[in-house]
C-alpha cells in the first residue's frame, strides 16, 4: 500500500477532495447559492404575495404597496386558531402513534422471512397502489357509519392507516441496510431479542425515525383530500380552512397565501426540533 496524503480534517472521505482546494470551496459556494435560490426563492415569492393587497397579489413585482391586511383577514376568519390547534394535534398524534406502531413492525419485516411478514408486506403494497380519490368517498361512509365522522378519531385513524404503509416500508429498507451481525453478537452475549432490538438496532435507526417523523408530520399537516372529505364543523383543519378560500367564483389567493405562510411556522419549528436527531447518526 502506497502512502498517500490523507485528508487532514479527519472525517470520512469526501468526493470533493478530488478537486483542488480552491475548487472545492468555489463549488460548494455555487451549490449553496443554487440551493438557496431554488428552494428559498419560491417561498420568498409566497411570503411577498401574502403581503400584497388586492390585484397586486398576482402582479407581485409591480408597485410597492405592502400590507398586513391579508393576515388580519385570515385571523378574523372563524375558527382559524381552532384549525391550527386541531392540525397540530392531529399531525403530532398521527406521527407518534404511527412511529410507535410501525418501527417494530418494520424491524420484523426486515429481519424475518416467512408467510406473516410477506403477507403483511404484500397487503400494504397492494392496497397502497389504489389512488385516494377512488376510496375517499367510501371512507367517508365508513367513518359516518362508525359514528366517528367529524371527530378527531375520524381524521386520525385514516391518516395512521396511510402512515403505517409509509413507515413500515421505509423502516424495513433502513433495517435491511443495517448489518444484523451486531444484533447477533448481542444475542450471543445473552441479550434478549427485544433487548437486541432496542439497544442495538434501534439506535442506528434513530436518524431514519427522525427523518420519517419529520416527513410524516409534514405530510399530515399539509394533507388536503382526507381533510376536505372527512371533517365537518367540529374538526376544522388548516388545509380545510385554506380550501374554503376557493369558491366557484375564484380563489382568494391573498388569504390563502397568508394562511399558508402562517402554517409554515409550526412546520419550521417541528423540522428544526427533529433535525438534530437526523444529523446525530451513530453517535447517541
Amino acid at each position: 500500500m502506497t502512502a498517500l496524503p490523507v485528508e487532514q480534517s479527519g472525517h470520512p472521505y469526501r468526493w470533493t477532495g478530488a478537486l483542488a482546494p480552491g475548487g472545492r470551496q468555489a463549488f460548494l459556494w455555487l451549490a449553496t447559492i443554487a440551493i438557496v435560490f431554488l428552494f428559498l426563492g419560491p417561498i420568498v415569492i409566497l411570503v411577498v404575495t401574502s403581503l400584497r393587497p388586492g390585484w397586486a397579489v398576482f402582479y407581485i413585482y409591480r408597485g410597492t404597496d405592502f400590507t398586513l391586511q391579508n393576515y388580519r383577514d385570515v385571523l378574523a376568519t372563524e375558527a382559524v386558531i381552532h384549525a391550527f390547534i386541531n392540525s397540530l394535534l392531529v399531525a403530532t398524534l398521527a406521527t407518534i402513534v404511527s412511529i410507535g406502531v410501525t418501527v417494530s413492525s418494520g424491524y420484523m419485516l426486515s429481519r424475518f422471512r416467512g408467510p406473516i411478514p410477506r403477507a403483511w408486506f404484500g397487503t400494504i403494497y397492494v392496497f397502497r397502489t389504489v389512488p385516494y380519490i377512488s376510496w375517499v368517498l367510501p371512507l367517508y361512509l365508513v367513518c359516518y357509519y362508525l359514528g366517528i365522522y367529524d371527530t378527531y378519531a375520524g381524521i386520525l385513524l385514516p391518516h395512521i392507516a396511510v402512515h403505517i404503509c409509509f413507515f413500515s416500508w421505509i423502516m424495513k429498507g433502513f433495517f435491511d441496510g443495517i448489518d444484523p451481525s451486531m444484533e447477533y453478537a448481542a444475542l450471543i452475549d445473552g441479550c434478549t431479542r427485544w433487548g437486541a432490538f432496542l439497544r442495538v438496532a434501534l439506535p442506528s435507526a434513530i436518524p431514519a425515525i427522525a427523518a420519517l417523523g419529520i416527513l410524516s408530520w409534514l405530510y399530515t399537516w399539509n394533507e388536503f383530500l382526507f381533510a376536505l372529505i372527512l371533517t365537518g364543523q367540529n374538526t376544522a383543519l388548516i388545509t380545510v380552512t385554506m380550501a374554503q378560500f376557493v369558491t366557484e367564483l375564484g380563489t382568494a389567493w391573498n388569504l390563502m397565501s397568508a394562511m399558508a405562510v402562517m402554517a409554515m411556522g409550526p412546520a419550521i419549528i417541528i423540522t428544526l426540533f427533529a433535525q438534530k436527531y437526523v444529523i446525530r447518526g451513530l453517535r447517541i
Binding site: 407581485i60 420484523m108 368517498l137 435507526a205 399539509n222
Partner: protein, 317 residues
Amino acid sequence: MVKAHPAVSGGLAPSAAPGHTNAEPWLGEKERFMFLLIAPAGIVLVLFQIVPIIFGANASFRDWQLFDPVRTWVGLKHYIYILNDPTFLTVVLPNTFLLMFLSVTLSLVGGLALAHYLHRNLAGQWLMQTIILLPQMIAPVIAAMMMRWVFNDQFGVVAAFLDWIGFGPIAWLAQRWPSFFIVVFTDVWIWTPWFALILLAGLRSLPREPFEAAQIDAAGPWRTFTHLTLPMLRSVIAVCVLIRSIDAFRSFDVIWILTGGGPARSTEVFSIYTYIETFVNLDFGRGSAAAMIGALIILVVAGVMYKAAGRVMDVSR
C-alpha cells in the same frame, strides 16, 4: 414448537438474518409477538383503507352514479370501456408513465446530491437543511397554485424576468410540452427534499470504516460512490423509489391545479381521468374501475422496478 424452515426470499435483505434455524424454539413466541405488534396496525389498516378500497372495487363492477345509486351489476363493462378508450391508452397512460419516470429520476438524483451536500459537519448545517426542506412545508396544492401564477404569461415572476432580459412572453400552460415541463418542475421541487432527507439519514447511518479503508486505498470519489455508498444505501433507495413511483403515478393535485389535464386533455394523467369520472361526472362506478386499472398497472410496474433496482445496485458485488 418447531416451525418449518421458512424459505429465504431473494433480493435485497442480508442473507444472514438472525433466528433462521429450526432449532430455536422461541420462533413460535416470536410469531405471536409479530401478530401482536401488527394487530393494531392491521385493524386500522383494514377498517380505514382496505374496507373503503373494497367498497370502491365493488362499485367498479356496477352502474353507480353518485346521484342515482341504482348499483346494478354490470361486470366488466366499465373496465372494457376504459381499456378501449383511445385517449386513455394513447395519452393518459403515456403521460402518467412519463411524469412518473421523470419526476422520480430527477428527484432521486437531486436528493442524492443534496444528501451528500448536507453530509458534512459544518456549523450552520441546520440552516441549509431547513432551507432544503422548505418545499415540504407547504401543501402541494399551495405549491402548485404558486407555480401557476409564477409561470403566468402576463403577471408571473418568470414573465417579468423574461421581459427584463428582452424575451417575449411564453404561454407556458397553453401548449402541451411546456405545461408538462412545469408539472415536472413543480413535482421535482416538492419531492427532492423528501429524498434528500431520507437519504441523508441513510448516509448518517452508514459505518465509517469502509470509507476510511477506501480512502487509504486511494479509491476515487466516483468509485467510492458507486462501490460503497450506493450498495450500502440500496435498500433505502429502492424503497424510496418504489414509494415515490407509486405516489407519482397517482399524483393529482399538482397537475389538476396547473393544467387541469389540459390543454384539451393533452397533459391528462391517470388520476385526473379518475377524478373527472368520480367527482365531475359523478360516475362512481367508472371512476372506481379506472382507479382499479391504474392500481393494477402500478402494482406490476413498481414490483418490476423494485426487483430491477435491486439488481442494478448490486453491480459491485
